[in-house]
């Protein structure tokens, strides 16, 4: 599992970087500042939609792997115990709050993305 996640994290990073570079280069190469029509036709194109969807899921995956590491490292009973032994007793609650927050961000972003862009 460790190696699989290692591969997926790097693959998702490649997708994210490619997307960012594509958008950044397009912004300078194409005359978006002259015509909003060019901008909107590009964004509404099926290939860009697929690329954007891939980017979104890559971002979620990449982010969740990173945030999981943050959760494991800094929201554990042991680590919170360095700050306060009383607070460390609530580490599970902190982890649940953290997970709910991450899940909400993923769900809301997906909802907004699908509703306002894909549909």
């Amino acid at each position: 599992m460790g190696t699989l996640f290692w591969y997926l994290q790097r693959l998702s990073a490649v997708v994210i970087l490619s997307y960012v570079l594509y958008v950044a280069i397009s912004f300078f190469v194409k005359p978006y500042n002259i015509s909003a029509a060019i901008w909107s036709s590009d964004i509404d194109g099926i290939s860009f939609k697929i690329f954007s969807t891939l980017f979104l899921f890559s971002m979620f995956f990449h982010g969740i792997v990173g945030l999981k590491a943050v959760e494991d490292d800094y929201l554990s009973k042991r680590t919170i115990g360095f700050v306060s032994s009383t607070l460390s007793e609530f580490s599970l609650i902190f982890r649940i709050i953290f997970r709910v927050f991450v899940a909400m961000v993923v769900l809301v972003t997906t909802y907004v993305f699908v509703l306002n862009y894909l549909v």
């Binding site: 460790g2 996640f5 290692w6 591969y7 590491a69 490292d73």
Partner: protein, 237 residues
């Protein structure tokens, strides 16, 4: 340096509510320098309750690993002049391990990880050649820089991943030993050893910050060994 202002971490769980620092003024020898362990011993002459662990005092046994002005190392082979800031030196126990008393830490979490990697040659094949299992000089060369570890724990206790997850992350010292046997052509458990390490924590918790390599008192490179394990893991997919 004529005198050293030595500050030692003190904590006796049977007596103290909290750890504290004790200050000592140590007269340096004629050369104006000395090893950190000698400074600690001089402090012990002033206060016999100062507790620390030592054995060979020449960098072989690895028992006097401490944190000196923020850097882990062996007190017996570290000169005061290399770690003191001005004439001040603060010595604390190795970070991330439970303190038994003063500068002595409980090494159990460290040894537990060491045990996990099965640090011994595992080969069930019967020897029929009439001599020991041989290696070519090239195969033997691959083990250089891997077997010399003295298990002082300076590397693992300088690693944040080990601080946060000492039960799950194997840590640089044990991973160095794991690779020592993965790389050994006489060992027949390479696949099993790698499979056991292929999870989110054991190896992949290393993010390559290389604290381990920078503090190793024997000049070893656990970070490189960890990367070699990752490469081997990727080869088997």
């Amino acid at each position: 340096m004529k005198e050293l202002h030595l500050s030692l971490y003190r904590f006796d769980p049977e007596k103290d509510q909290r750890p504290y620092m004790s200050d000592y003024v140590i007269e340096m020898n004629d050369s104006g320098n000395m090893m950190v362990i000698d400074a600690i011993r001089k402090a012990q002459e002033q206060d016999s309750t100062v507790t620390f662990r030592r054995s060979c005092a020449q960098g072989v046994c690895g028992s006097d690993g401490v944190n000196m002005n923020g850097q882990n190392g062996l007190a017996c082979i570290t000169a005061v002049s290399d770690v003191a800031i001005g004439n001040k030196l603060e010595v604390r126990p190795l970070p991330g391990l439970p303190v038994i008393k003063d500068l002595i830490v409980d090494m159990k979490p460290f040894y537990d990880q060491y045990e996990k990697v099965k640090p011994f040659l595992d080969n069930d094949e019967e020897v029929t050649t009439g001599h020991e299992r041989l290696q070519s000089p090239k195969e033997r060369d691959r083990l250089d820089g891997l077997y010399e570890c003295v298990l002082c724990a300076c590397c693992s206790t300088s690693c944040p991943s080990f601080w946060w997850n000492p039960e799950k992350f194997v840590g640089p010292a044990a991973l160095l030993q794991a690779y020592r046997f993965i790389a050994d052509t006489r060992d027949k458990q390479k696949a099993q050893r790698l499979k056991k390490l292929d999870d989110a924590f054991s190896v992949y918790r290393c993010h390559g910050i290389m604290n381990c390599t920078s503090v190793c008192p024997k000049g070893l490179n656990p970070s490189k060994a960890i990367n070699e394990i990752k490469k081997e893991l990727r080869k088997i997919g």
